[in-house]
């Protein structure tokens, strides 16, 4: 009996690590930033507004901007116009994103990845940023069209990260409300 009880405890504890938490909760204050400088950051802000969730948006956020933040929402997606608007190169943007997510992890700030651009924010140029953001995250919300090849599902499975796939960008508002 004692052995069975011990086994049950081990299995229950083990399931926490084997199966990602889909009932994860994030805390405020929230900082939204971009990985790739697409305008999806603005769309993400609109989604949070729709779900009446307060946030601060800084597409070019750096480590210092994480002060007092409990959740970092990363919105990945490459835009040449966005990089041009920000006046930086692709390599500089990758360096900034890597530094930001590493700093967030060091400060125990949870990272939520929000991919809402669909196929327009996938492909060779975007996937570098998608990978960085996905692998660094604690949870992902992804629009179905951007995950047709299961790119994000595979990362979620390999890294044991929770993932919520929604049909349309507009559905992401409800998914965001669920986790805050």
């Amino acid at each position: 009996m004692k052995t069975i009880s011990k086994l049950m405890v081990i299995v229950l504890l083990g399931s926490i690590f084997l199966f990602p938490q889909n009932d994860i909760k994030f805390e405020k204050p929230i900082l939204i930033s971009s990985a790739g400088q697409s305008a999806d950051v603005t769309l993400a802000g609109m989604l949070l507004k729709k779900s009446k969730t307060e946030y601060k948006a800084l597409p070019m956020a750096k480590e210092a901007d994480l002060e007092g933040i409990k959740t970092l929402i990363i919105v990945p997606g490459f835009s040449s116009k966005g990089l041009g608007a920000a006046g930086i190169s692709r390599d500089q943007e990758k360096a900034r994103v890597n530094a930001l997510v590493n700093a967030a992890k060091k400060k125990n700030i949870k990272i939520l990845m929000l991919h809402i651009g669909g196929t327009a924010r996938r492909g060779q140029q975007s996937d570098d940023f998608n990978q960085i953001a996905a692998e660094a995250s604690t949870h992902m919300i992804v629009v179905k069209q951007g995950n047709e090849d299961k790119f994000f599902t595979k990362i979620a499975s390999d890294k044991k990260i929770g993932i919520k796939v929604v049909d349309k960008m507009a559905d992401a508002a409800a998914a965001l409300k669920e986790v805050f």
């Binding site: 697409s38 603005t42 608007a85 006046g87 069209q145 349309k168």
Partner: protein, 372 residues
Amino acid sequence: MQKHHYTAILFLVATAVMAFIASKDFLKMYEHDKVFPSEALTKTGMLSDYLPNLKGSNGDTEVYFFDSGVQGGTTLVLGGTHPNEPSGYLTAVVLMENIKVTQGKVIVIPQACRSGFTCTDPMEALPLGYYLKSKSGDRYFSFGSRVSNWLDQWPDPEVYTHYPSGQKLSGFETRNLNRAYPGKAKGTLTERVAYAIVELIKKEKVDVAFDLHEAAPEIPIIKAIVVHEKAKDIGAMAVLNLEFEDLKYALEISPQNFRGLSHREWGDSTEVFPFLMETSNPIQGRLRGRTNADLIINGVDNNYKIALESGKLRIEYDPEGEPLSVRVARHLQGIHAVVEAFNGFYPERQIVYENVPSYSDIEANGLEVYLQ
């Protein structure tokens, strides 16, 4: 006279005949397409009303006003900035032939780059125009060049220096209206057209302005709305609302260091919220095969299909094609969504119109029902 003199004379006569026949087609491009503005039309002006030195030139073009007489905001819809992008021109035509404005004012310029409609780009084998069915039978619409006619503005410099930023681009861009803003009152023809449009925006106190475009299927900004940073919240709201209607648009922010474009310069030099919208146009594609009116209207290209089937195509391409009717429908729905979003943010400056077909209207009924 020897035998070769007779053949030379014969060939000269043949030259004259061929030149005459070719001339007829080229001169036909200077004729204006017939348009039938709706009953809501309150005034027809000319662009030279805003810059008199355009009068009598090929840069002058019609400006159509639909004023409800009820206090509200003003929107400007610009088609034909690039005459080789037919959905922009046709969207403006469908809008002005159906619209009924109940609050505020709508201004439409269907052929912003009038000079570009008088020629086509060399070495592209482009058609001079195309026919569409309408309520009044077959209607002819001109197809043109991306840039002003070089008969109107010559020569191109080696390097085009944008006024006033000093930005340097290829000399060819000197005739591109969407690289000429904010324009120059005594500049080249294209710069003067750009200047007149900006003057119109200022004098008419335009709140929301649209510049309608198309791009090759391989260009990343197709199916996109490009906004000046001050308009990004309106753009974002519009894109979200379009999603509810199952219409996917990417939102792009205008780069501050790329000068001369409408979405940059209109926003920088006036109070207007500028929006540039793009649809996908296979006749501009580099992979395209047979280049003819059918490709404009049906948007189906076999070469793209072959590329898609090979698995080597790295872009989104619908094998059913991108018909002109769908591209016009996207633009019309996009305009509506942006105007609605603007009305939400600025309720004291509402722009309200009706009777313009929605995306689903055109999907169900086709385009011809909405062309007079």
